[in-house]
Every structure is written in C-alpha cells, then in structure tokens.
Amino acid sequence: MRAAATLRTSWRERLFGTPTITVVTLLLAAAIAWVAVPIIRWTLIDATWSGQTRNDCTGTGACWVFVKARFSQFMYGFYPAEERWRPNLAGLAFALSGAAIVFAPQRLKLRLGLAALVILPPLGVWLLAGGFGLRAIETREWGGLMLTVFISIYASLIAIPLGILLALGRQSELKIIKLISVLFIEFWRGVPIIAVIFLASLLLPLIMPSGIGVDRLARAVIGLGFCIAAYMAEAVRGGLQALPKGQREAATALGLSYWKATWFIILPQALRISLPAITNEFIALVKNTTLVLVVSILDLLGIAQASLADPNWVGMNMEAYVFSGGLYWLICFALSRWSKSLERQR
C-alpha cells in the first residue's frame, strides 16, 4: 500500500501493473467517462457563448451569455459603473505593494511592510467609500468579488495582529493575561461564525453610544475579524511553541526587554514557522466571508444567489453556481498551493 504511494513507477505500471489493477483502472475509467462526458458537453461543447439576452440561450448546454451579461455585477456588485476605477486602483495598490515587499532587499522588507500597513488600509477605504473629494458610495452598493477580497483583507488586518497578541498572551507567565487570552480564544473558537456575524450586526450598534452608527459592512468585518483572530492565535501558537526556550532566555540574558525580545528574536522566527498555518486560516477566512450573506451583504456568492431571482434570466442556477464556485476554487486552490510551497521551503 505504502510502497506504491511513494515509489516512482512508470505510468504503465501504475495503471496496468497487475490484472486486478488493470480491471479496476478500466472500470474506473469507464465511470469517469460516464460522469465527465455529460459535464464537458454541458460546459463546453453544447454551451452557448455569444448573444445578449435570455432568448439567445438556445443550446442544450450551459448558457455563458448569462455570466457575460452579469460579469461586472459578479465582480463589483452594484458599485456605480463610472466609479469602478476606484476598486481597481485600490486592488492595484495592494497588489503592487505586496509585490514590492516580496521582491525588496531583505533590510528594506520590514520598513516597507510597516509603511504599507499604515498607508494602505485607510487609502483603500477612502478609495472605495469616497468622501474627501471623491463621490461617497454607500457600502450597500458594494458587492461581488471586490467585496469578498475587501472583507478577507480587512478582517485579516484585525485578525492577524490581534491573533499574534493573543498567542503571546497565551504563552505569557502573567496568570491574568494568560487567563484572559485563553478565555477569549476558546470563546470565539467555540461558537459558529454565522452566529458571530449575527451577533456583531445586532450587538455592535447596541453597545455604541446612541447616535453613533456602525456601518453594516464594518460590523460584519469586525465580527469575522474577532472570530478569525482566535483561530490565527492558535496558528501562531504553533510557531511560538516550536521555538526552543533558550531563544527567549538568551535574549533576556543579553538585556533585551520582553517586547524587544519578542519583536527582534521571537516573532521573526515564530511567524516564519507558522506562515503556512496562517495562510490556511486565511483560506478558511476567504471561504467564511460568504457567511455575510445572512446579513444581506452580497459578496461573490451572494451576488450569484441574488442573480437567480432575476426574471430576465430564469433557470440559470447551474451557470451562476459553476461560475462563482469555480472562482472560489481557483482563489483557494492557488492560496493553498502557495501555503504548501512555503511549507516545503522550510
């Protein structure tokens, strides 16, 4: 069992090594063909690719005209068409600074990263929401893939720093700080994220002084951020626990304070170890952003779901699901491959 799983063998041996293997392979190949041929016919061969309206969907297969007609909605939701350069620009800014940090020389990386962390989040919110010279656009009009990316990034901006603090707190020698961290982590890990999103959308406006409203989308992002922070804390804890105790002891012996030792000695090593785990939590976060649907915020999946109700495009369920599911799959698969390659580098 194991030998075959690890040894490199020729494809002929792997598929037709013994009579039993040959029979199973052939049977399975027939089963695959039986399932795959109709799917391929539906998605590619019999599909309709060109046209404008529902009436052009005459083929027996998928009608991708629907996706083409609604593509901009899948991407931006109801964001005004003439202002869509703003999310594009924000995305470009995030992507470029990410690339700049990755390819920068080692000694500049930290400074660049911190600068990006200070400048980019407010810049992104300003570009998307407007105000200060730009036309204000309410979060009600945001949606689609843009919103999925927005929630993922901003929730992890809350979750990663908070998670690191909680993980440090859990490792702390100070009893009360440790207790508070453990309680916080176990509470948020113990409750369903869907309930947390409900909770955030109901409680946040309640606990703020009257007159101060909290934006609907901000509530969902804060709820998700707190919840994911608890999971991030556990991911970071793995890295902290993997470090030999001598690292902190040596740092203390050299006269570094707790925070200096943490910042210069502990975290750089611990975060490198836990980066794959953090990436996995980020993938979970991307998947969990779909839950904002329950408070009627329409991210990519929400827009796909909402598009099923369009009377001009009746019966496009499969097309909407295949397109949105495929996009989610591509994003998460790419991220998980990246996380695996990080693991191998170690």
């Binding site: 069992m1 194991r2 030998a3 075959a4 799983a5 494809w11 792997r14 598929l15 293997i21 199973v24 392979t25 399975l28 190949a29 695959i32 020698e173 100070l174 009893k175 009360i176 700080i177 508070i180 509470f187 113990g190 409750v191 369903p192 994220i193 869907i194 309930a195 409900f198 909770l199 109901l202 409680l203 406006p205 309640l206 606990i207 703020m208 002084p209 009257s210 993938i283 991307v286 998947k287 969990n288 779909t290 839950l291 649907l293 329950v294 999946l301 779901q305 099923l308 369920n317 499969m318 699901y321 949105s324 599911g325 989610y328 799959w329 998460c332 698969f333 998980s336």
Partner: protein, 387 residues
C-alpha cells in the same frame, strides 16, 4: 529614593501593575458598553430579563422532533431548535466519518487511478466554501429534483422529490426498543467475554475463539434483532395521493440539502486526517510486526490502527466540533436549527437580542466543552504511556 526606584523596577511589582491595568481597562470598557446598551434599550423600549421565554411563541416550525407546537412557549421553541441542530450534527458526523475514512484510505490505495480520484475529490471539496455547497444542494440539486408525481423511488418505500425525502415510519416503537435492548446486552456480553479471554490468555496462554464469538455477538444478534423488529412492526409506507405523498415521515428538503453539504464537505477534511494518521505510522513498525509473525490483519488491528488513532484523535475532535458549528449554516436556507429559529425568528418577535444571543452561543459552548472533555479523556486513555 533608591527604595522607590527599586520598588518601581521590581519585576513582580510591574507584573501586578500591568495585569491590574489590563483588568481595570477591560472592566471599564465593559461597563461603558453595558451602560450604552441599557440606555439604547430603554430608548428603543426593549425589555430585558428572561421572562420572554414563557411567552407563547406563535412561530410555526416545519420540522420538529420534540412535541413543540405553535401554542407552546418560546423556551420550547429553543429546545426544538437545539434538537434539530443535534439531529443534523449527529447524522452528518456518522456519514462524514464513514465517507472520510473511505476516501482517506482510497488516497493510499496501490491503484493509481483510485488515488487520483480520491485526491481530486479532496482538492475539489476543501477549496470551496461550505455555504456554496449548502446553497448548491438546496437551490441547484434538490430544487431540480422531479415533482412528487415523478419521485425517485428508493426500493419502493422511500421517495425523493423536490419537497424532500418521504420515508416510512414504524407505527409503534416497542419492537425497536426491545431490539436495542438486545443489542446493548450483546455488546455488554462481548465486552465481558473479551475481558475474560484476555485474563485467561494472560494466565494460561490459551486463545479464545474471539473472532467467532465476536461475529455472533456483534453482528449476528444485532442483525437478527433489527430484522425481527422491522418485520414484526407495521410500517406506515408513504403512498402517492393526488399531488403529494400521504403517510410516512417527510424529511424536509432543507435537512436533506444541509446534510448532503455537511457530509460531502467534512468528508474531504476527515479524509486528509485519516491519510495523515495512517502515514504517520513508520513503515518499520509494519515490517517489525511482520518479522514477529503477525498476519496483515493483525498488523492493521494491533499495530497500525492504534498508533494512527493516537495521531488522528485531536484533529478529528476539531472536525467533529466544526460539524456542530457548521450545522448553523442551515440558517442560510432556513433549516429550523437553533440559530435560525431562536436567533432568527424568536429574536425578530421579541427583540431581546442580548439574552437570545447568550443562550444560543451557550448551546454551542456547552456541547463543545462536553465533547472536548470527552475527547481529552479518550485521548489520555489511548496516549502513549512512557516511563
């Protein structure tokens, strides 16, 4: 002066100071939030306290296991929701574990194509949000099933259509109760027999017919008992009357969709745990047990599985708790679980957000803590005992 400096620089003093500052800060924040909340609630005219639990609910629930009816109080509604959450969780756990083991073992198959299919399944399922699967099964698959008249028949007794799954229901449960008592007794007997056999083997070295006795006690008797109960009970088999089925029990489509989504999704994660667990057993262990003369079956049962289980238990616990938490995804398709009934409908009717949210979260925390405690006990039992 130097005494004061020494006092400020004392690590113990500083530790106490920092912790006290954090506690006071958090307490102040909490008091601030509570004051705002009570002011806001007074302004909005929302009552507080748990009196609302004894009010008549008036909420109709399409799928109940308890005796709940619309005229019962809100507390009964809460329990009906909890029961529905537990029902879908338990069934999903069992099915997902079975499917997950199957796929996990398939990933280690010596046949390449089996490996590849299992691997493709895992990669497919793990990279798509669970909510996608829930919506897909509900709006994509169940809604596309034929109407009751053209139902898909399962052996002529159960019927699957776009209004759910209609299954036969026993008229009386007495026979099944006897059957379950018989099964419990034979399990107990089997446990006693194993103890006796082990003692005798340690004392005299003689083997007992473990396999044959085990087959009789664990397989033959349960199968016979269930077969007797099934045949001796009158069944209410659903029959098509007009546009829908009469008789039997209708499992609502929301349940079917949520269960299908939970099982197919969770199985992908369990498969990875199973694979990791089996692969974590060093190959030398299997070679060594072969060298000691153990047969392949014995090697699997006595060497591979106990060691793999030790690795698998903690992540499996996590997955089981995830299934419990993920059962709340039913709220998106209005499956009447505790989140959608209590945090949704009851909250809308009463407006008492804080009490209702606290009770709902408590359900998950209590069950979660109970499961973790049990799994920790189990984990400690099977953990490696070292000197």
């Amino acid at each position: 002066m130097s005494k004061v400096l020494a006092f400020i620089n004392d690590k113990r003093v500083r530790d106490v100071f920092y912790q006290a500052a954090l506690l006071i800060g958090l307490a102040a924040l909490l008091v601030y939030f509570i004051r705002n909340a009570s002011q806001n609630m007074v302004q909005a005219g929302i009552a507080s306290g748990f009196d609302f639990l004894w009010r008549t609910s008036g909420i109709e629930v399409p799928f109940v296991l308890t005796n709940y009816t619309q005229s019962d109080n809100i507390l009964s509604l809460f329990w009906a929701g909890v029961a529905n959450t537990l029902l879908v969780t338990v069934i999903a756990l069992v099915l997902a574990t079975a499917l997950g083991f199957l796929i996990g073992i398939a990933r280690l198959s010596s046949i390449w194509l089996v490996q590849a299919i299992a691997g493709a399944y895992v990669e497919f399922v793990r990279n798509i949000p669970l909510l996608f699967f829930v919506l897909f099964w509900y709006f994509g698959v169940i809604a596309a099933l034929p109407a009751p008249r053209e139902s898909l028949s399962v052996f002529g007794v159960a019927f699957l259509n776009n209004r759910g799954l209609t299954i036969p229901l026993p008229d009386a449960g007495a026979n099944f109760r006897y059957a379950f008592i018989a099964i419990a007794i034979s399990c107990l007997l089997h446990w006693l027999f194993l103890r006796w056999a082990r003692r005798r083997k340690e004392a005299t070295g003689r083997d007992a017919p473990i396999l044959r006795v085990g087959l009789v006690l664990l397989l033959l008797i349960p199968v016979l008992a269930l077969a007797w109960a099934t045949l001796a009970t009158r069944w209410d088999i659903p029959v098509l009357r007009g546009f829908n089925y009469r008789g039997g029990f209708v499992v609502i489509p929301e349940f079917v969709a949520l269960l299908a989504a939970l099982v197919t999704y969770t199985a992908g994660f369990i498969a990875e745990i199973v694979r990791g667990g089996i692969q974590s057993v060093p190959h030398g262990q299997i070679e060594a047990s072969g060298a000691l003369g153990l047969r392949p079956g014995q090697t699997l049962r006595l060497v591979t599985i106990p060691q793999a289980l030790r690795v698998m238990t903690p992540p499996m616990t996590n997955q089981y708790l995830n299934v419990l938490k993920n059962s709340s995804f039913g709220a998106a398709i209005a499956y009447p679980d505790v989140v959608s009934l209590f945090m949704g409908s009851a909250l809308n009717n009463t407006g008492q957000a804080i009490e209702i949210i606290a009770m709902t979260l408590a359900v998950y925390l209590v069950i979660g803590l109970a499961v973790s405690a049990f799994m920790n006990w189990y984990n400690a039992r099977i953990a490696l005992v070292t000197r």
